[in-house]
């Protein structure tokens, strides 16, 4: 099987499955599951790691040539806080990549579109590779693209809900219109959801809760890997069209053939 490569900024990815690090029962379990999933981009909440401590448990477990760390700004409520957090992460983790998350609502963790756009613009100017977590809003995606983000990360459903692609209609528009990779983030609760997102043409998916909270995170990591590959392969192979009407075996106009 040939795998097509995903490019974001200066990096290439064989795997289109990005993963998270929260909610695992232990750092060992987290590492095992991520390795099994073959994910090459792993998001880490700044608030969870001790940037001043080189032996931080989570960071120590993620040290691998195959794993790129993607710090996220989860916990900030404003653009100003996000920019500050991103700068801290850049300095401490030696990466200019940042997953921009601004959710002033601590319950459903829904992203603030206005603050996100403001922060994205500022961070791009400061030389960051910005991956914004947003609602599935096609216009916002285009606005973010205009300010220079390297991809967009619309949600399928609220974070951790495992509800799947509740924003389907808007994801389709975003995928159709986007000039930057579209990574479906949040809400993906089952490998079938991930496969569906990939079949639709998403460039990648980000999954955390569904793997971390499953009974067997390692096997679930593998299941997601396979689902993402299958979905991507199906997208590349072009799905057979869905027809709204049955194709009649004796069309109404077949008599025209008899006239000749």
């Amino acid at each position: 099987m040939t795998t097509d490569i995903l490019n974001i900024a200066d990096k290439t990815f064989k795997s289109r499955l990005f993963t998270g690090t929260g909610k695992f029962s232990s750092s060992d379990k987290m590492r095992e599951a991520i390795i099994a999933s073959e994910s090459e981009l792993v998001t880490v909440a700044l608030k969870r790691v001790d940037l001043e401590n080189e032996s931080d448990d989570m960071l120590a477990h993620l040290k691998s040539n195959q794993i790129n760390l993607l710090p996220n700004t989860s916990g900030v409520r404003t653009a100003k806080e996000a920019v500050f957090a991103a700068e801290l992460a850049r300095e401490a983790l030696q990466t200019n990549w940042v997953k921009l998350e601004i959710h002033p609502d601590p319950r459903y963790l829904l992203p603030d579109p206005i603050e996100t756009l403001k922060a994205a613009e500022e961070l791009v100017k400061l030389g960051f590779v910005v991956m914004p977590y947003i609602h599935a809003d096609p216009v916002l995606c285009k606005r973010l693209e205009e300010v220079g983000v390297q991809c967009v990360m619309p949600l399928g459903a609220p974070i951790g809900s495992n509800k799947g692609l509740k924003t389907l209609e808007f994801l389709e528009i975003i995928i159709e219109q986007s000039n930057v990779p579209v990574i479906v983030d949040a809400g993906i609760g089952a490998p079938s959801h991930a496969a569906y997102a990939m079949e639709l043409g998403a460039d990648a998916v980000l999954v955390n809760t569904a793997i971390a909270v499953s009974q067997n995170p390692v096997e679930m990591g593998i299941a997601f890997k396979m689902a993402v590959e299958a979905g991507r392969m199906a997208y590349n192979a072009k799905l057979a069209p869905i027809k709204k009407h049955a194709e009649a075996s004796s069309p109404l106009t077949s008599f025209l053939n008899d006239l000749n």
Binding site: F24, K47, R48, F84, A85
Partner: protein, 372 residues
């Protein structure tokens, strides 16, 4: 507008009657629902719901795992002062209690902080009595300034303050404020707080509103179980929570479950809350709200705490000392109340891990509150 307006539309006696008249049939209907609302919560905390505790616990476990994963957060209290100008009938710090008073000095605060840091903690809760002259806002601010570099997450449990005072402390790096109403029964509240600023029921009731307006990151709510009927008090707490969540939507909330504990000059609880009652309540809160943090302190015993990991609790304290300087400065001084779970932090950590949960020490960045 404040919670007081909502509060006044409810009547304690009517609520009590409604809670005690719930039937098994009503509970079964509630348990079929996907979304549990305040009226459903009222039913889940009723005596009629007792036979359904296991079912509630199973559901609580599942939704807690979905939202919080397999993790338990750790925090520890640090008592700064036992000076207090209130008389509270149930509290060891009460002004009429003839104990030796002390307030930690800068050196002592740093010594205690260093000791706590070595235990592994990154989330600290600063606690004082209510003595505005000696442990007023400037003392609290100074204490935060002293220890800010050592902890990512600093919370306080002190006297209710003004909005501007909270704003000052937030600027200094304060993350959360815990303020319990003790009881929502106005007459009973007055009986237990006969003297001091704390006797002002309305001022205390409005405190979370002042915190919300000040833009605090997290507010901790709760009632002190034993002063009044826990079921009615818990309904009011849930009502308070729902009001706050709608009004101050950027703030996070936590609920604690303090039951009256023995202390110097102690008070016998008016209403007993059994372990089964507490399990029922924890699960009812989780069913009402998937996201609210539920916290359990060392007031509870080992057995109960071991099992609560699976019930919906999301944060734990351990090895707590409830006397100023109790960790290293003056371990033998008088405590505010006796703790029940005396295991070390290491033992608690091992207990949590052995149940398949990750112990989380750090879940906040001080840069988020201290970015200026």
């Amino acid at each position: 507008m404040s919670f007081k307006n909502t509060f006044e539309t409810y009547d304690w006696d009517t609520l009590e009657k409604e809670i005690y008249e719930v039937t098994a049939e009503e509970i079964e209907k509630v348990l079929l629902k996907d979304k549990i609302e305040l009226e459903d919560f009222k039913k889940l905390i009723s005596p009629a719901a007792k036979p359904y505790i296991e079912e509630m616990a199973q559901r609580s476990n599942t939704i807690t795992k979905k939202r919080f994963g397999n993790t338990i957060q750790m925090y520890i209290p640090m008592y700064l002062s036992n000076e207090c100008q209130n008389i509270c009938t149930y509290c060891g710090f009460s002004m009429d209690n003839g104990i030796r008073r002390r307030t930690l000095s800068d050196t002592e605060i740093l010594q205690e902080a260093e000791h706590i840091k070595k235990l592994g903690y990154d989330h600290i809760l600063l606690v004082t009595g209510e003595a505005n002259k000696t442990v007023g806002v400037s003392y609290i601010k100074h204490a935060i300034d002293l220890i800010r570099s050592q902890f990512s997450n600093i919370s306080i449990e002190v006297q209710p303050l003004l909005q501007e005072e909270y704003e000052t402390l937030i600027q200094s790096g304060l993350y959360a404020v815990l303020v319990y109403q003790e009881t929502y029964h106005k007459a009973t509240y007055k009986t237990h707080h006969p003297k001091g600023r704390k006797s002002n029921f309305d001022y205390r009731l409005d405190t979370p509103d002042r915190l919300g307006k000040a833009g605090i990151h997290k507010i901790g709510l709760g009632a002190l179980f034993g002063l009044e009927d826990w079921r009615v008090d818990s309904f009011y707490t849930a009502l308070h929570l729902k009001y706050l969540q709608k009004t101050y939507w950027k703030t996070k909330y936590s609920i604690s479950f303090p039951r009256l504990r023995p202390h110097q000059g102690g008070l016998d609880p008016k209403v007993e809350m059994t372990d089964a009652d507490l399990v029922q309540l924890i699960c009812a809160y989780r069913l009402l709200d998937e996201d609210v943090e539920l916290s359990l302190s060392t007031r509870e015993n080992e057995l109960f705490r071991n099992h609560s990991v699976h019930l919906g609790i999301t944060s734990f304290s351990a090895e707590s000392k409830t006397n100023p300087g109790g960790y290293s400065v003056e371990p033998e001084s008088l405590e505010q109340f006796e703790i029940s779970d005396e295991r070390t932090t290491e033992e608690i950590k091992n207990m949590i891990q052995s149940q398949g949960y990750e112990v989380v020490w750090k879940d906040w960045s001080k840069s988020y509150v201290n970015f200026i």
